[in-house]
């Protein structure tokens, strides 16, 4: 009887063979990736979005139907209340398009959580969403919004035609509601990510440029600018492959590996929840369907921060995206560039 050859599973997201194993790279620097605490529950309430950005790691778009049900939203809220989760970070898709979004925000605030919404700005112009600035203000929500560049050409190239103009108008409305004003408690933070296969600039330098350009060109103000590296997964990976940039981009990420970023990686203080309630170490693992390590609770219904506090983080080649240069997290750079 002929023994079958072992199947080598080279999935659609398999990295180029030249990319080293991430855990081995950490070990070579005397490091391993374990969580430190659970400070943030990051909840992806669905893949439905009014935009279809070219770099989106969620593959979100107006045609996606995956959306968190009210029942799962209640399970998230039960966890927030029971464990007094310090921060609830709500993302999507455009999270505002989930019918339970406002309930989730209001109840989490009532439970005492700091609530952060990853708001794409243009959703404010969708039917029934015009009052979002007022809702955010009333709830004391922190708003984090993507704006890849302070010029129309670059922004529209990534996020779609007309997005820049709408985004600027949305920023004006948020400013008018009190967001992003000096001395205001209403925080409006922007997210820069490269419009292509290259690393982001130094966060402090590009923040100064954004502040100057957005104020002088459009009269818009904001608090902080976070630089985020494009992760080589899903839609951005498709772009890398289509444009012949995958090998070069992965080499760039690996060569820019900076061990001092590891301590500040978001997976060390965050647990990610998908639209079905399943748990992950980060939003990128979520999109790759890499659940938390075996033996841990896998669902928000069974969530217990004590079990997650010192867990081993599940890694992959995409993790080189968070450790390149000054590092990358949902809160931007995590270390000084080497």
């Amino acid at each position: 009887m002929t023994k079958a050859l072992p199947v080598v599973n080279v999935g659609a997201d398999a990295p180029p063979a030249s990319v080293p194993d991430f855990d081995a790279k950490l070990a070579a620097h005397g490091l391993s990736l374990r969580a430190a605490a659970v400070e943030t529950l990051q909840v992806n309430v669905g893949k439905l979005c009014n935009q279809a950005c070219k770099h989106c790691h969620v593959d979100a778009s107006p045609t996606r139907t995956e959306i968190m049900t009210r029942e799962t939203v209640e399970q998230v809220l039960a966890a927030v209340r029971r464990f007094r989760v310090p921060t609830l970070d709500i993302t999507g898709g455009a999270p505002e398009l989930n019918p339970s979004f406002r309930h989730l925000v209001a109840e989490a605030r009532r439970a005492g959580a700091h609530v952060l919404v990853r708001h794409n700005l243009t959703v404010m112009f969708e039917p029934g969403q015009e009052d979002l600035p007022r809702f955010f203000r009333e709830q004391g929500v922190e708003v984090v919004s993507s704006l890849p560049y302070f010029l129309e050409q670059q922004t529209d190239a990534q996020r779609g035609r007309g997005v820049f103009e709408k985004s600027v108008e949305a920023l004006r409305r948020l400013n008018a509601a009190g967001y992003g004003r000096e001395g205001s408690a209403l925080k409006l933070n922007l997210v820069y990510n490269p419009v292509g296969a290259y690393l982001p600039p130094a966060q402090g330098a590009i923040e100064r440029d954004f502040k100057h350009e957005l104020l002088s060109r459009y009269g818009v103000t904001f608090d902080r600018l976070y630089t985020i590296t494009n992760m080589p997964i899903r839609r951005f990976l498709e772009y890398l492959r289509r444009s012949g940039n995958e090998e070069r981009y992965m080499r760039k990420l690996v060569e820019a590996f900076n061990p001092s970023t590891v301590e500040g990686l978001m997976c060390r203080t965050l647990v990610s929840v998908d639209w079905t309630g399943r748990l992950y170490d980060c939003d990128f693992n979520q999109m790759l369907e890499l659940g938390v390590a075996a033996g841990l609770p896998q669902s928000i219904a069974d969530f217990d921060p004590a079990a997650f506090a010192a867990r081993r983080v599940v890694t992959g080649a995409h993790c080189f995206g968070c450790t390149a240069g000054a590092g990358s997290s949902c809160g931007g750079a995590v270390a000084a560039a080497p």
Partner: protein, 109 residues
């Protein structure tokens, strides 16, 4: 084989195979030049891009185009830098017309 191979840029360190001591000195100096100082990294990257064009070095143009993007520059700024290099090359050519004037003047009545 083409005279310029894109992948050779990533093989630059192989130049250090012979006289590594000299290559290491060069690299230390080269990298120190890139750091933020009286000029920002972005300004230095734009200068590098302009010089790369003046030298017409494809490796340098590739490297400094990427450096400019990663320093937050846009194509308008990068194009202005290249125009500066071009304008200087043009001006440097043109001012030599005075050499021709002088040369012609010496032998003319």
């Amino acid at each position: 084989m083409a005279y310029y191979e894109e992948d050779d840029l990533g093989r630059f360190s192989e130049v250090g195979r012979h006289r590594p001591d000299l290559f290491e000195k060069f690299m230390a100096w080269y990298q120190a030049c890139q750091e933020d100082g009286a000029l920002t990294r972005r300004e230095k990257a734009l200068i590098g891009l302009a010089v790369a064009h003046a030298l017409q070095c494809p490796y340098c143009i590739d490297a400094y185009s990427q450096s400019c993007l990663e320093a937050g520059s846009n194509m308008e700024q990068m194009t202005e830098a290249v125009h500066m290099a071009s304008a200087l090359r043009g001006g440097a050519t043109l001012i030599h017309a005075l050499q021709a004037h002088n040369s012609v003047g010496k032998v003319s009545m």
